[in-house]
């Protein structure tokens, strides 16, 4: 098992290097410059913009900039933001809690909805419950988060005035009031993201369950006189979860992606909104760092998925 994990980790390193190279080249070739706002300000002489470009190495050749970035990264230096003139890691660390809180909660919500609904729907295929669940799932993943987000705002903030429209890290109050307020302001974004995720996941859990439920060993288990609940949980679910784990792991980065839109709508100061504002400001070091974090997440969650396979089905890690 440990050898298996080690092998997976070693494969991850060259893929991260490759990803970083591609990201860097694409960003370097993209138009725009971080000091463009200076260009329309008549108070700022053009030489200043030019001097800043030179100072921050924007005029160096791409390969030099990449090597410089790579060696800095190896030393744990993430570079610094042209726009904020502060270290990128500090900037990301400041934004991470909000993203983890919202994305994490929404993912938990998605799992809490998708697994029971998917499993139950699979045990009674084509029943009324299954059909309703299916219909809702289709509606759920057909509606993009930017649409449901604005819909939620119009219903719960503007019309009913129940929930705040702007998410703020500066929540008033202490103790239980603080907790309640944090929950209150996260309801809309978590619901928007979580239900979107839950919709596609439900479909997936259901079909994975259906694949397994018809296998001979399940029939054998039933024939031995095991109860329905025991058969489903112990024999069916464990095997059905393998593809589901793959899906969840591969979707994690996509959830961060979906959170970019949601974060923008609700003004959640997460890394998604950091990415958007940095792209708009052409703040390359931050864009590079955030996209690289996303890339690391993809690799990391794939790794976790691999390890989980090994645990769910020990045969995989032996091969």
């Amino acid at each position: 098992m440990s050898q298996y994990v080690l092998r997976r980790v070693l494969i991850a390193i060259p893929s991260l290097l490759g990803i970083s190279l591609v990201l860097f080249v694409v960003l370097a070739l993209a138009p725009g410059d971080p000091f463009s706002e200076l260009a329309t300000n008549p108070n700022v002489p053009p030489e200043v913009a030019a001097a800043l470009r030179a100072k921050f190495g924007l005029d160096d050749p791409i390969y030099l900039r990449y090597l410089h970035w790579l060696s800095a990264m190896a030393h744990g230096d993430w570079g610094f933001s042209f726009v904020s003139r502060m270290d990128v890691d500090a900037l990301i660390l400041q934004r991470l809690p909000a993203t983890l809180y919202v994305v994490g909660s929404s993912q938990i919500l998605a799992l809490l909805v998708a697994i029971p609904v998917g499993v139950f729907a699979a045990t009674k295929p084509y029943s009324l419950f299954d059909q309703i669940a299916n219909t809702l799932a289709f509606v759920g993943f057909s509606l993009p988060t930017f649409f449901t987000g604005i819909l939620f705002i119009l219903i719960f903030s503007v019309t009913l005035d129940w929930l705040p429209l702007v998410y703020t890290t500066d929540v008033k109050g202490t103790g239980i009031r603080w907790v309640l307020e944090m929950i209150r302001q996260a309801i809309m974004p978590v619901a928007v993201l979580g239900l979107f995720q839950a919709a596609s996941m439900t479909r997936f859990v259901r079909s994975a369950m259906l694949d397994v439920i018809r296998l001979d060993y399940v029939t054998t288990a039933r024939a031995k006189g095991l109860g329905q609940a025991k058969v489903i949980v112990k024999h069916v679910m464990r095997n059905a979860m393998i593809p589901v784990v793959t899906l969840i792991a591969l979707q994690m980065p996509a959830v961060f992606g979906g959170a970019i839109v949601t974060e923008q709508i609700f003004r959640i100061p997460g890394i998604g909104s950091l990415l958007i504002s940095s792209i708009l400001a052409n703040d390359t070091p931050v864009v590079m760092a955030v996209t690289f974090v996303f890339a690391c997440l993809v690799v990391l969650f794939n790794l976790i998925a691999d390890v989980l396979y090994g645990w769910l089905d020990p045969r995989i890690s032996l091969r």
Binding site: G32, E37, A39, P45, V48, S84, V166, I265
Partner: protein
């Protein structure tokens, strides 16, 4: 004629010894139009006056929380590094300049004790120096006294190229010296009629403390810990800053202005977009103030119905304009398009430029797009009022435009597009991507079509269009199109900066990497001479007349086609009394804000 005699005549009118009409007649005799003469009269003797204060609360604090919503959050809090107004707004919450501008473009004192004038000895008669007296007893938030040393230090800090301050242009050419602990003198290299640039206004005026930044001048400027945690002199003390997201502050109990500030805490939240910011302020009332709500007027009108907030407008001098290219964007000379060695094949005929100006329906654009946030105008220079020409008019007439083109020999071809000497009237019209701008383009294209001009529209992402990236062909300074539309913000109540841009010495070329601000490549010796004269003209009347003349020249040559005089649009809670000036940033007059009971 102008100068002493003019002064004497204005005095006579003021004393009632000469009647207005006689004055205007005599002005006409020397070639000045009646409106201009009237204007000269209106500003006779007016120097820089201090605006009246509207502040009412009678005690400090007690106003609760003030919640500001910026759809673009400040990313750094050092005024000398500010890129864009959002950073200036954030820095200005804590740092203060010597003086700022009120909504009428009058000066308002902040850290200075009095407005320098010739009478009080603050202004030198030759215009080569200004002496500022500082308010005594002002303290930094950490308790240290604010003195002349701080002011001098800011100059040294900003002018050092190694600091890479964005404020360098303001401080590079002047000399600042300490006279005593509470007096500083600024020396100019030549007579400088607009002396209120350094240390004034929200842009590059705010002063940072010497005792915290002295070790971080020059190359080490980025390492200063206080770049992200300001210690200023302002009405609110710094608590917390998360770049692009949140700034928090609290009442400064030692603030140097009486009964100020009104609010106990301050929060500035960033992010999102303008429409939802308008919604959070106007419709749901979650926030007290939202900045630059540049959304179409009908959206705002809808939000205002039954809402908890209102929109407010600040009149400045910003003009949305179309600039015409005076060089040929389609011919390459020595590896350079839009080269000064070429002439625009169509615009070299003034009739084409005139006709285009007649095809911009400013009234329709105001009605359909800008609404309350725009005013139709015939001028490039739209403020302050004393610099605005009354000699110009605009008109929308497809018939007149067609007639001008007919008379100039541009005849419609088989496809309905006019042509002359084998050249077709086909134009490329570019602007940045922005809802109102694309709508404006569509309105103008339609009118041009009716007059037999074929216009191709192009829109470029704002971050590219406004960039100084030499490698990109789509930036506004390269101007590889026939017409382009945008706006240059006027950041102070003076036309010096903006009008200076269009002299022939400032033409954007390959040689200066398109860093020259004269992107339309307008070269006119007369214009150059007027601007040069205005630069060091100390008489405010003659100076205003010169800028008016410069504006009229630009308009007469149809170098620019003004589209709208744009107002700043802000959203505010119904009970918030916020002072917003078209000549200042939104947070510049924050010390005067309060809430009505």
């Amino acid at each position: 004629m102008l100068d002493k005699k003019l002064r004497a005549m204005i005095d006579k009118v003021a004393d009632g010894r000469m009647d207005r009409r006689a004055f205007i007649k005599r002005m006409a005799a020397v070639g000045l139009s009646a409106p201009l003469a009237n204007q000269i009269l209106a500003l006779g003797g007016v120097a820089m006056a201090e605006g009246p204060s509207t502040y009412k609360p009678t005690k400090r604090g007690g106003g609760g929380a003030l919640k500001l919503l910026w759809w673009q959050g400040p990313t750094l809090l050092n005024p000398h590094f500010a890129t864009g107004t959002k950073d200036q707004d954030g820095s200005r919450l804590f740092y203060e300049p010597l003086a700022c501008w009120d909504p009428d473009g009058n000066m308002k004192l902040v850290l200075a004790a009095e407005i320098p004038s010739i009478q009080n000895g603050g202004l030198a008669a030759d215009g080569k120096s200004v002496t500022w007296k500082l308010k005594p007893g002002v303290k930094w938030h950490d308790g240290k006294p604010f003195t002349a040393d701080d002011v001098v230090f800011n100059w040294e800090y900003a002018k050092d190229p190694a600091t890479a301050a964005t404020s360098i242009a303001v401080y590079r050419d002047i000399t600042v010296e300490k006279v005593d602990d509470l007096t500083v003198r600024i020396l100019f290299p030549k007579p400088t009629p607009f002396w209120a640039d350094a240390f004034v206004g929200a842009g590059f005026g705010p002063i940072i403390p010497k005792h915290l930044f002295a070790d971080y001048k020059g190359a080490k400027s980025r390492e200063a810990p206080n770049n992200l945690s300001p210690v200023g002199t302002g009405p609110y003390k710094f608590i917390e800053f998360k770049p692009g997201d949140l700034i928090r502050g609290e009442l400064n109990p030692d603030y140097h202005m009486p009964n100020r500030p009104y609010f106990d805490t301050l929060e500035m939240k960033g992010g999102g977009d303008a429409v939802s910011a308008a919604r959070a302020v106007i419709q749901t009332g979650e926030y007290d103030f939202g900045y630059l709500i540049q959304v179409e007027d009908d959206v705002l009108l809808r939000l205002e119905k039954g809402g908890k907030g209102k929109t407010i407008y600040a009149v400045g001098g910003d003009t949305e304009f179309i600039a015409l290219n005076f060089t040929d964007p389609n011919t390459e000379v020595d590896g350079e398009r839009s080269s000064m060695k070429t002439k625009h094949p169509l615009f070299s005929d003034p009739a084409v430029r005139k006709a285009l100006s007649l095809l911009v329906d400013r009234e329709a654009i105001k009605k359909v797009i800008y609404g309350r946030a725009g005013r139709t105008t015939a001028n490039f220079l739209n403020g302050p009022e004393k610099f605005v020409s009354k000699n110009t008019t605009w008109e929308f007439s497809v018939e007149k435009a067609s007639k001008i083109l007919d008379d100039a020999g541009w005849k419609p071809g088989a496809d309905g597009i006019r042509e002359k000497d084998g050249k077709k009237l086909k134009l490329l019209y570019q602007t940045s991507i922005n809802g109102p701008r694309q709508k404006t383009q569509a309105i103008i294209k339609q009118a041009c079509q009716k007059a037999g001009i074929d216009v191709e529209l192009k829109s470029v992402v704002a971050s590219v269009f406004f960039s100084s990236d030499v490698g990109n062909p789509d930036t506004y300074p390269k101007f590889y199109a026939d017409m382009e539309m945008f706006q240059i913000p006027l950041t102070q109540p003076d036309p010096l900066q903006i009008m200076r841009r269009f002299t022939s010495a400032n033409v954007a070329t390959k040689e200066n990497k398109w860093q020259g601000p004269n992107f339309l490549r307008y070269a006119n010796k007369e214009y150059d001479a007027i601007i040069e004269a205005a630069e060091s003209e100390m008489d405010p009347i003659k100076r205003a007349a010169l800028y008016i003349k410069a504006n009229d020249l630009l308009i007469g040559d149809t170098a620019f086609i003004p589209v709208q005089h744009r107002l700043k649009v802000e959203a505010a809670a119904n009970n918030l009394v916020c002072i917003v000036s078209g000549w200042a940033n939104e947070t510049d007059n924050l010390f005067d804000w309060y809430r009505e009971a």
